[in-house]
Symmetry: C2
Subunit: 504 residues, 2 copies
């Protein structure tokens, strides 16, 4: 078999696996939107069967042999070539999938299913002690996973790599630490400011049907293509990239608050633009047809949500339209007051409800605790104490009970240790990309003020989306911005924006 | 391997194949309801991949070996036992799936995809000549299929058996001929009657939202369980049994006609009650967890739609509710006039819009032509002439052009020769079951008048639904009614009902 034949065979197998995985995505979308509740038990059987089939196809030893044939050939001589990138990631994923003993995978799956229910009960009772034995099991299993994968540096790296390939805890900790220090100081200034936005502007009745119309208008203006997508209601706002030509988003409406669905829709449409611009049809199942990382994905949603959707320039164009649609709610409201209201900063317990400034502090806290759990420096039993003391230090307020503290997130019960950092990486990448964009599109603000969102969208498509995972996130950042990841663009952006709003 | 082990292994494989097929059903439902139009191309790839996987699993020679082991054992000694029934149908399906040469399957699929487009164009132009070469190809391919399957009697039997296992053209032709003769005579009396229902009652504005509410009320009263199902809008009204605990129905609303969605919903809910009562979880993928035949399935939908939903007793209970919901449209309308309006009989060209009496004549005509095409007595070129002369004879009106005649149905272009008879078999089985039910539940009319639909539903569940395909349709009919299939119950029912309405 020639190396080219081996590569073609791998591409065909990758396409088959991706097609199978795409049927899982349809089932997932259905489950989140329209599935009758009584169908849940059988849906779990369908999903687990499909997952097993994908796993079996991928861990077929023949896949390893084919990868090895291409690796030993001239096809990968240029490490930046498309074939080299695709083989690099196939090797990475094949090794990870085959390194875990079957017994560990099964125990992990069984434990997390049970742990999820125990976590839900513990959160309801706001009693960490009930969840503690399950967190202990999960930490142990995650350590075993890390050992099976292998790692350099800390065991956390092996887990982080599942979500952010090639990232290292040692590198991001340096950036995160700087972010945290700067944000704690910024938050303190905001807390002490006398100039408080009037949030009542966005916390009054907003007709749900009109919210939906406005959300779809904004998504369409961003370039979200409704002939290849849909916007539905779901408990969990999400983007589901089903496959080539099918990228759907969901949101949820609060009839008494404008922000939730509006910025949620912009956020998901930001993810969706990335997904829609990937060369999925051409490279189905291969790295060059896939997103670079969760962090890069989140950079797209966060940039659209915050740097665009919460900018003054955006509302210069859209606020008059919003006033015509939400006539009663926005009667007599001025653009400047509306802009400040959607940018209100207020420390709060719950991450998913956090504003742009405090959101990253929520992540820093979780990242630090996860990292210490994995090195063993922190015991699960010490989580509540450690959580609460750090929370007081970073946010300036004391956690009242565990449901508002260390029990709030689903992630640990699902075994997703290593996932949280990607949220803040998204904000960091977004700011660094956005600073570069402002250099390269000097009239961006004027364009946004005229409702031109597509110039930005084209830039993102060319520089980021179409690259797929040809380069890993750190390398992509370097190529796009000329710099490695830094805390500075995000902090500069935050200081300028919130200094202006809060008057310091 | 013991025969019991072989059976257990078959049951496991059947469950896996059915789970895979159930993911196709989710994709199918999504495609019919909410899928973005731009996703169509990839959806075809997903569907064909899943179909290929099911086919490969089923035609694995190991399946044949396992079936043979059980067949040669005491497990099937009692031919009416559950295991014997399941093995009987596995053998039947395995033989059929493996008998078709791969080359024939591929040519059949390729031809029908092209033929579908050619048919659509020919129908649009109302020009049979354009479709004729494709019908010739399809008839030839269907003959080759029949030869590959093997048959006794006429080649048509091999095709009919795909939809109505065990039925024979020779037997049903005798029944159909009697039906046709009686219906032509009945229709002539109706056409000559001076008493015409006032159909304008149901052909005026009916608010679509209220149609939906009323349709769901009726479906719920029938016992359709919305925690295990949904009612959505789709171009093609249908029931999709996704799997255990998930049976969805669709309908379409005409804002100026009550009948379409209302009787369509009752029809689909009738199918769904059958699907929901099957022992799917226990026998997933096996005959005893599956429906007996398309004809028996249609008997359930038709019984609910016509014998219940278009009965006077049903409307004694539901008409007052309908009047409260459709206040303006039904203002001043009397029960008796409404009952007659929903039972209006009027010969028309299009089968899918036909009333209860003429519907079967549409089927008889198609059945007779299909049968003659397969024996070779009729050439595709002669179809329009033959269609039109029979239509004139049966319906008393002349077909104006091919789009209203032999080009109206999608079936032949899809290669579905042998499918049509199952529609009339459904009506025949429905009438025969219903006559038996009236004996066994003597106060059924009084129950329907009080809105009790669940007594009927329980009878159907116990006598028919829960049997699955333990007995084939003919045998099931004999067991349930004590008689082989006969034209008499349907004709008796029609004569009594329409004689009363049209006054003869």
């Amino acid at each position: 078999m020639t190396p080219q034949n081996a590569y073609d065979e791998l591409a065909l197998r990758a396409r088959e696996m991706a097609t199978l995985a795409s049927t899982q995505a349809v089932l997932e979308w259905d489950q989140q939107t329209y599935m009758p509740p009584g169908a849940a038990a059988f849906r779990a059987q369908q999903m687990s069967m499909l997952a097993g089939m994908v796993h079996d196809k991928f861990t077929d030893p023949k896949v390893g042999e084919l990868i090895a044939i291409v690796e030993g050939s001239d096809l990968v001589k240029d490490p930046d070539s498309i074939i080299a990138a695709n083989i690099r990631e196939l090797r990475h994923n094949y090794d990870k999938e085959t390194k875990l003993p079957k017994e560990l995978v099964e125990e992990f799956n069984k434990t997390t299913v049970l742990a999820h229910n125990e976590w839900a009960a513990a959160r309801k009772a706001s009693d960490f002690k009930k969840f503690q034995p399950w967190l202990e099991k999960i930490v142990t299993l995650c350590r075993r996973k890390a050992d099976a994968y292998g790692y350099t540096g800390e065991p956390y790296n092996a887990l982080l790599d599942n979500y952010e390939p090639g990232a290292s805890v040692e590198e991001i900790a340096v950036v995160f630490e700087k972010v945290r220090i700067e944000l704690v100081s910024l938050l303190s200034k905001i807390n002490n400011s006398k100039k408080k936005p009037d949030v009542s502007i966005v916390e009054r009745p907003y007709d749900v049907e009109r919210q939906k119309v406005f959300g779809e208008m904004v998504a369409a203006a961003m370039g979200y293509d409704f002939t290849h997508g849909r916007l539905d209601i779901a408990v969990h706002p999400m983007t589901i990239g089903i496959g080539p030509g099918d990228t759907r988003i969901t949101t949820r409406y609060n009839p008494r608050r404008l922000n939730d669905a509006l910025f949620g829709t912009i956020h998901e449409a930001g993810h969706a633009l990335y997904d829609m611009a990937l060369e999925r049809e051409k490279y189905l199942g291969l790295a060059t047809g896939d997103a670079a990382s969760l962090g890069i994905h989140e950079s797209q949603s966060r940039m659209w949500e915050n740097m665009v959707g919460r900018s003054k320039a955006f509302w210069v164009y859209f606020f008059p339209q919003a006033k015509r649609i939400f006539r009663d709610s926005l009667d007599g409201v001025e653009l400047d007051d509306f802009y400040k209201a959607v940018n209100n900063v207020a420390p709060s317990y719950i991450r998913v409800e956090a504003d742009e400034v405090t959101y990253n502090l929520h992540i820093m806290l979780r990242f630090e605790l996860e990292r210490a759990l994995m090195t063993g420096q922190l015991k699960p039993a010490d989580i509540p104490g450690e959580w609460n003391s750090r929370f007081k230090k970073y946010f300036g307020i004391a956690v009242d009970h565990d449901a508002n503290g260390c029990l709030q997130d689903v992630h640990w019960s699902a075994g997703l240790i290593g996932y949280f950092p990607t949220y803040s990486l998204g904000n960091l990448y977004a700011a660094q990309f956005f600073a570069k964009i402002k250099q390269e599109i000097p009239d961006l603000t004027a364009r946004l003020e005229k409702g031109d969102l597509l110039t930005l969208r084209e830039w993102l498509r060319e520089k980021i989306h179409k690259q797929g995972l040809r380069y890993r996130a750190g390398r992509l950042c370097q190529k796009v911005t000329g710099q490695p990841l830094s805390h500075q663009p995000l902090i500069d952006y935050m200081k300028a924006k919130f200094g202006e709003i809060y008057g310091f």
